[in-house]
């Protein structure tokens, strides 16, 4: 996988559900080093979790020889986190889930991962292609923007 030497921390995970927790713990610890407040650390954990799960399930399609890479950097009170998989990115973006339609069975039960990522990040780019596959590039500010 492409190695960017300016990243402060890089974590490579086996492609197995559950290991996203390790990336979450790592990200939380990273944000603590930079004095991020609790609510933003929780937001960061959730976006890292959702992006890692998507990388495992959709990007790497569950292949157990594939890897997920999470990399973290912090510049001027903004943490940037990139989650990479070995796939080719999101083919079709589902609309934001509408819970009333879902409950009534008019809409499939999908799209919560991307929805949470979009809601909790301050900036996000999907489908960034790297030498080895797809990457989602997310930023989160120390202070929640209102």
């Amino acid at each position: 996988m492409h190695t960017n030497n300016n990243r402060a921390v890089e974590i490579t995970l086996v492609n197995q559900l559950g290991y996203e927790r390790i990336a979450m713990a790592c990200s939380a610890s990273f944000a603590q080093l930079f004095g991020f407040p609790k609510n933003r650390i929780e937001d960061l954990k959730t976006i890292v979790s959702e992006a890692s799960i998507n990388a495992m399930q959709h990007g790497n399609k569950g292949r157990n020889d594939a890897k997920v890479k999470v990399s973290l950097s912090c510049v001027e009170d903004i943490i940037n986190v990139q989650v990479s998989d070995e796939g080719s990115g999101i083919e079709e973006f589902p609309p934001n889930p509408d819970i009333e339609n879902i409950i009534e069975g008019r809409e499939p039960l999908i799209g919560f991962g991307l929805f949470l990522i979009k809601q909790l990040t301050d900036r996000v780019e999907f489908n960034k292609m790297t030498g080895k596959g797809n990457m989602v590039n997310m930023s989160i500010n120390m202070k929640e923007q209102v």
Binding site: N39, T46, S49, I103, G105, F112, G113, L116, Q119
Partner: protein, 117 residues
């Protein structure tokens, strides 16, 4: 891997409390469905889900919960959730879960509200 839940059922008057230990993820599906089935076998009309305030909830777990909410709606059951951290209260609100389940700070609050409702 901590991919299981222990769910204890406790009857509090008219309310059935489902006390969920462990994280709420896609792996919770069989455990939550089983507990919900048991609550139905007891003919529960008011259900309170209790989660740990330090539990990990991801979108897979949210999907499992929404499936339960769809059923409680169809079955005319009243459902509440207690114990969520501030973060997951925010998220449950974002996702719209709060339109189909009431959110309570504590089990006591939840039991009281559901008993009255």
């Amino acid at each position: 891997m901590q991919n299981k839940n222990e769910i204890t059922l406790e009857k509090h008057g008219a309310v059935m409390l489902l006390d969920i230990e462990g994280d709420i993820t896609a792996f919770s599906e069989p455990f939550l469905n089983e507990a919900y089935k048991n609550a139905n076998d007891d003919d529960a009309k008011r259900i309170l889900l209790k989660v740990g305030d330090d539990c990990y909830i991801n979108s897979g777990g949210i999907a499992v919960l929404i499936q339960i909410l769809a059923q409680t709606k169809r079955n005319n059951q009243n459902i509440g959730i207690a114990g969520l951290s501030e973060h997951f209260k925010k998220i449950f609100n974002m996702v719209g879960i709060t339109k189909f389940a009431s959110i309570h700070n504590t089990v006591e609050d939840g039991l009281e509200a559901l008993s009255a409702g």
